[in-house]
Symmetry: C2
Subunit: 755 residues, 2 copies
């Protein structure tokens, strides 16, 4: 489901290039003693030798041969095929099935009823150049999952991306969407935010269209000449209110097993409040052209050959949507390889296999790389290299609708996972280009070492070195010096958008999300054109980045499975949290200054005087200026965390070198390390969304996929809830103190002291 941004945005990283010349086989590996590291390098060489790009190509062809969305015949067929593969490689394999709510269109109508009549086509046009695009009878029509039924007629208002600040802009112009139908363009936030915010402002319907600026001709030649979205292409996708909770809307917090207690559909809070429909720019053009009223602000204008107006007025549309509110099976394929020595420590690795249509890029590109990884690891196990810890592969179903398969499985197995899961490593779409990693910063150094040891197929340097080159050459001039001097990789924080959410943000299992991209042509996302044909022309034609992905995540799994001591460390996490805490103080200060400046401009009439009297404008109102907040508890907790992290770092290597000296019980140390991330969660969860329990990482309530770090405090400030912000500072400080205490326990164990 996730739409991969250029990895530069997702992760920030720098290792000195000279450090890259170390021979891979001598390089130290966190969690391994020197001799063990040498053995690990040798195992990884054997692992690499087993990877074969022809598998990726064959499996992609097989898995994308027909549309395979959740609940479809071919989705089931694929699950059986994937399960059979795992079994053939020696995994204990089961398909776990859940019953989930999945509405699909019964009828869709969008027509402009004035000033002219126009009926939207609402269909992607199959192309002879792309054989699977003509499998119309099996394709889901273009729609947004978890839109409610509706039959509404209203004037159209163009709301840009439809995020909160766009409505502030409308407010300044005195434009109200109450009783109106809004049309938003894709981009600027996750799509599900658009109908949510529209409904909060009183809109009665929401259209979301793909502006050619976003992934159409503005970006490059359109399909089939090029990779990008053509005028019939529309973006399917879920609009479930995932920032509240993901997964089956009827079973928040518990597994959607056959016998689970379910909400009434009317009580499911993650369905939209208004009907929503995605459309192509071919369908959007007549509507947008007909809108009158003020010209949209410059930043709102897309790449259609029209003047963008805001409305409301002249253009009036009728939107009628009815869905089949069916319960369908979500079938997760779960494959286990039991660890030889520490079987109760689980390395969980997942990638979904369901798609919106044929889904070659999303998700099969990631799925086939993971399968290749599982194949090689299974073969190594058969040949005597069984991992120390247990490895669990999961091919998730129902990700596209709202992380259904992974969420329901994680909720079902919550207790075991909280006890036994070391880490969850996710992947999803994968393409040509640069490494992108986000995740728990306790693994930042670990990621660093893996990226150092994987070769980039295009440039024959490590993927780390190539990413660093990219970051240096694209950084703002002012940032380059610090980027050059920075030691080690920086990974991004996880928001939402793929199957890691339940593990990291609900259960407190350390997680990573890993993939390549940035040089591949986009534009087929969630359309009938995300096909084998498109993928092998524009995304990763030779599957060389599929292989690179397998080399990367395979190393991660093997190192985590085989390390003498789990390679978690805390200084990167502590420094990252310190930066986030700094951000918060700056955020509060800049919001205060902006409100003060705005109030000056209201009071001295500048806002009125500067405005064009021929353009509509609401009378400017003063804002409440934020009070100074007490950040001291947070700052003290961060200082504590940094001290504890440093202390552990000083003894970490000893704990490994000491092995097999019984004075350090490595397994006990592992258990403290793997549970440390849990300390960053609280059972009560975040304000107004208790499913999200992690106090360092959460998807933004108004950004969707976009992460909010230290979310309790940050969102309270952003939403101007200042008493709540101070409460959350105290809560967060408590969380970080407890976390630091857990690190102190690890330090004691690593020193061979009794707990």
């Amino acid at each position: 489901m996730i739409r991969r941004l250029a990895p530069v945005v997702l992760a920030s990283l720098a290792l000195s290039l000279s450090a890259q010349t170390t021979s891979t086989h001598d390089a130290p590996v966190g969690g391994f003693s020197v001799p063990a590291a040498a053995a690990e390098h040798s195992l990884e060489a054997q692992y690499d030798a087993r990877l074969d790009r022809n598998d990726l190509r064959d499996w992609m062809k097989r898995l994308t041969a027909r549309p395979h969305h959740l609940g479809s015949a071919y989705d089931r067929d694929n699950s059986e095929f994937i399960a059979s593969l795992f079994r053939s490689w020696g995994y204990e394999t089961a398909i776990e099935e859940f019953q989930v709510l999945f509405p699909t269109p019964k009828s869709r109508l969008l027509e402009m009823v004035g000033p002219q009549h126009f009926t939207a086509n609402l269909a992607e046009t199959p192309l002879t150049d792309d054989p699977t695009s003509s499998q119309v009878s099996e394709q889901l029509p273009t729609f947004n999952a978890y839109s409610i039924d509706g039959d509404v007629t209203g004037d159209l208002v163009y709301v840009n991306f439809g995020v909160p600040k766009d409505y502030e802009e409308l407010d300044r112009r005195g434009i109200d969407v109450k009783g109106k139908i809004v049309i938003a363009r894709y981009g600027g936030s996750w799509r599900g935010i658009k109908p949510k915010v529209a409904a909060e402002h009183g809109a009665i319907g929401c259209l979301i269209y793909s502006d050619p600026h976003d992934d159409g001709y503005f970006q490059g030649d359109v399909y089939p000449k090029g990779a990008f979205r053509n005028d019939s292409g529309a973006q399917r996708g879920s609009v479930m209110d995932m920032p509240q909770y993901p997964g089956d809307p009827l079973t928040p917090g518990v597994g959607a097993t056959a016998t689970a207690k379910r909400l009434d559909r009317k009580d499911a809070t993650t369905l939209t409040k208004i009907p929503v429909l995605p459309i192509s720019y071919g369908d959007a053009l007549p509507l947008l052209r007909a809108i009158s009223g003020p010209v949209a602000p410059q930043e709102w204008r897309g790449s259609l050959p029209i003047t963008y107006h805001i409305g409301p007025g002249v253009a009036r549309v009728h939107l009628k949507l009815e869905f089949n509110w069916d319960m369908v099976p979500a079938r997760d394929v779960i494959a286990r390889l039991r660890g030889s020595q520490r079987p109760d420590q689980w390395i969980v690795r997942g990638n979904h296999y369901d798609a919106w249509v044929n889904g070659a890029e999303d998700p099969i590109s990631g799925q086939v790389a993971m399968l290749e990884e599982a194949k090689a690891i299974g073969q190594l196990a058969k040949e005597g290299h069984r991992p120390v810890r247990t490895i669990i592969y999961a091919a998730w179903d129902g990700e596209e609708e709202g992380l259904l398969g992974s969420t329901e499985w994680a909720e079902t197995h919550a207790e075991e996972l909280q006890r036994n899961a070391v880490v969850y490593i996710n992947s999803d779409t994968n393409g040509r280009g640069f490494l992108g990693v986000e995740g728990s910063h306790t693994l930042e150094r670990f990621v660093n070492e893996v990226a150092r040891d994987v070769n980039d197929p295009e440039r024959n340097v490590s993927v780390l070195q190539r990413l660093r080159a990219r970051q240096l050459t694209t950084a703002a001039a002012g940032d380059r010096k610090s980027l050059r001097s920075q030691d080690g990789i920086r990974i991004g924080a996880l928001g939402s958008g793929s199957d890691y959410s339940a593990f990291l943000q609900h259960l407190g299992v350390a997680a990573l999300n890993v993939g390549y991209g940035g040089e591949d042509g986009s534009g087929s996302y969630h359309s009938i054109f995300d096909s084998y044909s498109h993928f092998t022309r524009f995304v990763d034609p030779d599957f060389q980045y599929g292989l690179t992905q397998a080399r990367t995540t395979g190393r991660m799994v093997l190192r985590l499975a085989n390390a003498e001591v789990l390679p978690f460390e805390f200084t990167h996490m502590a420094d990252t949290v310190a930066r986030y805490a700094d951000d918060l103080t700056h955020l509060a200060a800049s919001m205060r200054e902006e409100a003060e400046e705005r109030n000056l401009e209201v009071n001295d009439q500048s806002l009125v005087l500067a405005a064009d009297p021929t353009e509509p404008m609401a009378a400017p109102k003063p804002e409440t200026v934020a009070p100074y907040l007490n950040f001291a508890p947070l700052q003290n907790a961060v200082a504590h965390l940094q001290r504890s992290a440093k202390a552990f770092d000083a003894v970490r290597v000893n704990a490994i070198a000491a092995s097999p000296n019984a004075s350090v019980n490595q397994e006990s140390l592992d258990r403290v390390l793997m549970h440390a991330e849990r300390m960053l969660t609280r059972d009560q969860g975040l304000p107004r969304r208790p499913w999200y329990r992690h106090f360092v990482y959460a998807p933004g309530y108004y950004t969707g996929y976009g992460v909010k770090t230290l979310p309790g405090v940050r969102e309270a400030i952003e939403q101007r809830q200042y008493p709540e912000a101070e409460q959350q500072v105290t809560i967060l400080a408590g969380v970080l103190d407890a976390y630091a205490a857990e690190i102190d326990r690890a330090t004691a164990l690593a020193q061979g002291r009794k707990e």
Copy 2:
């Protein structure tokens, strides 16, 4: 000719709003004693009372009734009409005629010869909604004046704006325009830069098209529904190499009188080196759509519904241009009102009257405001309020082709002007919105006082207060505090683009350029749609900003004509020059840092590693890193200037208050003050362009209209001519020292000391 940018860009200004509440009639006026200021305020009230918007409307209708470009019958007719008006108001009026080279099209052909055939229309489509647009027989066709004749065929390359940094981008991709025809979009620089830079890179022809992003549908509804350029609209304009010298190409530096010695046309260096043609986006679309090759960088892409490719290739065009290389008369209307007491001190005030076609906005909007001003001042003179100093009104011809009328007149009268001219006040197009002023910073305080005393017709505050509100509300967050604390107005520096160039930059006469705009709809610039009909719908429908302009420039003229001592002062100039000097040191430092960083990226392979191997790229080459330059002579001279300016400021008011005490000879002081600006010039002029003699202000050699301050040093640094930069630092320091010494003379006179 000038295309007015939003005035916020042109001038930066701030006065505390509270200061605006002073009653206009009590407000101090620079150069006037308290009783004289009161009399002046009373005179200005009488002046205002004589202004009548019906005159503006009637004259605009009259002057724009037919096309009236240089050399046309109606241009001559207009000159006689304007002269008759001046005579009727009591001005000694003459028409001074020059003979200038003005090529007009004999034949124009643009066709695509492959991959498909397409012949460009090259014509604007008349509209029934706009009556004068159908006067086809009198309209100049769409063309660029001073393009050479040519008949070329070549592959097309899209070069974005066609400025030097665009060619750097092409270089990085290994794309060469040698032997190719380039197509550039309007914007990013003055149009004449595009063929100049294209020819420097070996191109054989140049097309310039109006992308809808610039002034078409992206900006607003197109004509006739809205103000903006429609798909047949093309932008005429001069492409003479004005940064070398403006005016008649055959008579650089001397007046183009009947008997002047002329260059052979082949020796005229300001003609283009390659044929150039402007086209509409209707004509550009098939060409741009046919170009293949790499996709253009994101910032290069406009608003046409296509993917922008760079080429070269597939699209191949044939461009054939022939011109009638005629000599035509340029007829300046010169009207004098002799000063009663200091007749040898001239206040020169000008606005051109020639247009590309009907020219309602450009230039008649400014012309009619100036005429109204002259009418009222003439009437006041008849009634006994004859000005102390001489006022000269000039209605210039041939501005559009390259400032022909003003330049030839200034060159012809160079000696008198250098002796007698106090100031040149220019205007050109005028529209609805905000005051914009650029010019000599010795008049910054003066402009400030005038803006304080003119009322904005839309918001009923001073135009100063309204502009400040605009600047505050549009400033970057970080700039607002300093803007609020800043005392007084900041005016922009003058580059080129209208008739002030010869006065300021060739003769060293202090100059101002004044106009309103920023709320008017653009898009008719240099087209058949710049008509009375368009103007009265979209630019200044009620002529209220025409009246406001007359109130503004009329005050300027009256105050300069009647002041007891000329209101020049030097602290604003000194502080401005100090800021410019700071800019230079930062420029040198940042260029050095950028070159160092780039060389690091070349040497450590980052540039290669970061690149997509499937995209074309030239091997990156290291750059020469700029040496540290010795700015000390400049810094010392600036310090000297600041001391001298402060010293004069301390005695300035005394010199006025002392009047009529004979110990201060005000007329002698005036002569020093009015000649001070001459000290900023040198007879040798700037490197490689001796016509430009001013060492603080010049149009950029590679920007055209855009100003380069301290141009000798700045352009040497920008063009990496480091030895020349150091020479120019020394020269500039000498100029500033001599200027400071002149200020010291003024101080001595103001103190009643003998010179």
